[in-house]
Symmetry: C2
Subunit: 244 residues, 2 copies
């Protein structure tokens, strides 16, 4: 398995596709150049266009004479500068980046300064007004735990079981910056971005805690808030059982 | 006066020039669109290509019906997304962004992780090896104070008085990131980047504290270290007397 950091700004997301650049395709191309073979690469899950990762995980079977500790450097030679392999580890044969995962951590960066901040224009969501952090914390408290999160999922997902457990949501503030860190058993399609959009609306009194309760109980997307934009989102870490 | 944040990645620096984009030119163009006039804009000082600013200051005389508190938003409408006016203030007539300045603060970001970090490739200097922070701190202690910093200046500057006072150099570490914050009465051409390069070389034992002493005493560039790359450097703040 490899751990990957990428700047998602210039990608259409993780997943390989017909049109547009994907991170997965770059990884496959690098492995092909390295090994001379076509390698099947499994990611821990998709990330949308413009979403970043500090700890995306991918798995593949590679027969190579390159020692595992040299693999990151060797792959980075063939990867564009906005993708970097940060770690490589040999795993048991049944390890699978997606199916072995037992949890994920995402961070979302919100910037609340009055005027736009060029240095983080591709790395944060600009909400140019003060947010009521007490209210946001109350909203967070409702979201933590095991719930059916169908009301916080975008259309277009075919997943059947929409029950997920959120272990923690941590709120950190420094000056005009706000970071929300989500840890959970897994996240539905766009679930983090919809939770963030909802919490932002709670923080400006456009939505109430009642709306969150309704979204959780009536399982209807219409009660939750907007989908926050992609560039504030970072896939930080994928968790696996200790045995892996 | 206005305070400006910019992402220097796609600019040839602050100063207007024949070839290549400059931040100063964009500011002049925005003011011209706003007022219909050619406005002379003075910056607090130059920044090199790819150097960033969180608090560059510029001054100009503008006759306009726009209230000063609306000026940032009005100017931002005409500026590219990698430049933003964060503040505007009316000043006494004799205020001059450069000549009234009594000090500056710069931050320099170093990343010491083993593998490159795509998310900060345009925002930090990658030094892929551990740095001896004790030694760097000893180097810092030698630099603080009033010295002739001619040995830490790039050629191509015509400045005569090369004595400057460094009030403080602060070292902050988080994980694989290191931030050096310099406050001083003023800085010579490339002085911060050469101090950073020198401190990095001290931190990997390529230079000694003796080298720093020599550079300070013999006023010769050859004793100092390399010039650290531009993308790690941020002009944070320009200081003015309270009367301004």
């Amino acid at each position: 398995m490899i751990k990957i950091e990428y700047d998602g700004t210039n990608y259409n997301g993780w997943q390989i596709q017909q049109n547009g650049k994907s991170v997965q395709e770059e990884i496959i191309k690098a492995l092909s150049k390295l090994s001379g073979k076509d390698i099947i690469v499994h990611g821990s899950g998709r990330t949308d266009a413009k979403v970043h990762a500090r700890g995306q995980v991918a798995s593949f079977h590679l027969e190579s004479s390159i020692p595992i500790e040299r693999l990151p450097m060797a792959m980075n030679t063939f990867l564009p500068m906005d993708i970097s392999i940060k770690e490589a580890q040999e795993m048991p044969n049944d390890f699978h980046a997606r199916y072995s995962a037992i949890g994920k951590r995402y961070t979302y960066h919100i910037y609340t300064g009055r005027y736009r901040s060029p240095l983080i224009k591709n790395y944060a969501y600009h909400v140019p007004r003060p947010l009521d952090l007490d209210k946001i914390q109350q909203g967070i408290n409702l979201l933590i735990g095991t719930h059916d999160f169908r009301g916080f999922m975008s259309n277009g997902s075919s997943v059947e079981n929409t029950v997920r457990t959120i272990h923690s949501i941590n709120l950190e503030k420094r000056d005009d910056n706000l970071w929300l860190t989500f840890e959970g058993s897994g996240f539905l399609y766009n679930m983090v971005r919809i939770m963030v959009g909802t919490l932002v609306e709670v923080g400006i009194s456009k939505k109430t805690l009642e709306n969150i309760n309704n979204a959780l109980e009536k399982l209807d997307r219409k009660y939750a808030g907007h989908k926050a934009p992609p560039q504030g989102l970072y896939l930080d870490k994928v968790f696996y059982p200790l045995t892996h």
